[in-house]
Symmetry: C2
Amino acid sequence: MTKQERAVRTRGTLIRSAAEVFGREGYSVASLAAISSLAGVSNGALHFHFASKAVLADAVEAAALARLAELVGGPLPAPGAGRVQHLVDVTHRLAGALRADPVLRAGFQLAGESSRPPRHDLRGHWRAWVEEAVRGAEAAGELRAGVAVRDAAAAVAAATTGLEVLGARDAEWLSAAAVAGLWRLLLPALVPEAAVKGIEVAGARPL
Amino acid sequence: MTKQERAVRTRGTLIRSAAEVFGREGYSVASLAAISSLAGVSNGALHFHFASKAVLADAVEAAALARLAELVGGPLPAPGAGRVQHLVDVTHRLAGALRADPVLRAGFQLAGESSRPPRHDLRGHWRAWVEEAVRGAEAAGELRAGVAVRDAAAAVAAATTGLEVLGARDAEWLSAAAVAGLWRLLLPALVPEAAVKGIEVAGARPL
């Protein structure tokens, strides 16, 4: 391993350790000493990579944002080929990733910290993606007659943000069963009755 | 004013000031000095009433819980006389109170603090109330055929928790229009088609 490869790896380890400590103790309580100790590096090495806790939090958010972009960035289905199903699939993918990935989880939690304005605001990015996805479903003619895009996007954004927040304390809220349950309830409100059965609430595409 | 009345008043002022400072800065960053200064009392007076910041946070949560109990504790409508409407009305009442009352807001936010296990867990109390309300609606025969109480309760709890969390940064999420929009979207999923029009999404009872 070259010196540069080692540096990249140490940086990644520090971001992951910071995410775990932020998630457990909250950003303001988290100490750089706890983070470097969990990462197995010296305080000096931490400071070489990150000048302050705020810079480290920005890096956690940036890494989480890259992960979120990956999760929502797959190819969009063609119009008529299941925009709502795509929305369902992506929420499953996000919930699975939130369960498994402390960096993504911390990125979302940092967006809710009152002591620090978020730099990358993961919750805001997620809301914007949901709104675009709902607009796409409407443009593809998949929404029920009379549904306002604005109401639908806000309800999906609020409900999924609720799962994310409640899931931080109790991972059951982010289980595949919980996400499927949410869609089972929401679908009849979003799509015409005849379309409900054609949508797989458990997610249709391999995650 | 007797000495005792003054003490009660000072205690209330301190709880309100603590709620404001917790809401603005987060629990872990909030300093007792900022709280006593906002309350216009000496540090000594603060310590006379509250031995520590943790004790003060418990008191904020307890006051918020009393307020929540008041909000959800009105008389239940008779079965058949609008259990779903009651649920709609109470969410409007809660959103209005969250907009106006920093103590209630801080109580909910404290339930999400990773640095401190909540003592009264307002979000948990709210979820429990929603579940009971949805069960009541089902028992009264108001839910759509095929709706699982569990799905319905979880969706309403997740969506309203989402509004509360998003509303902490942007009060628009707690506006009467936002709450009505959520219900406009959710109702067709929750109640039979014929019942949708009979339910006032903006809330039926004076708040």
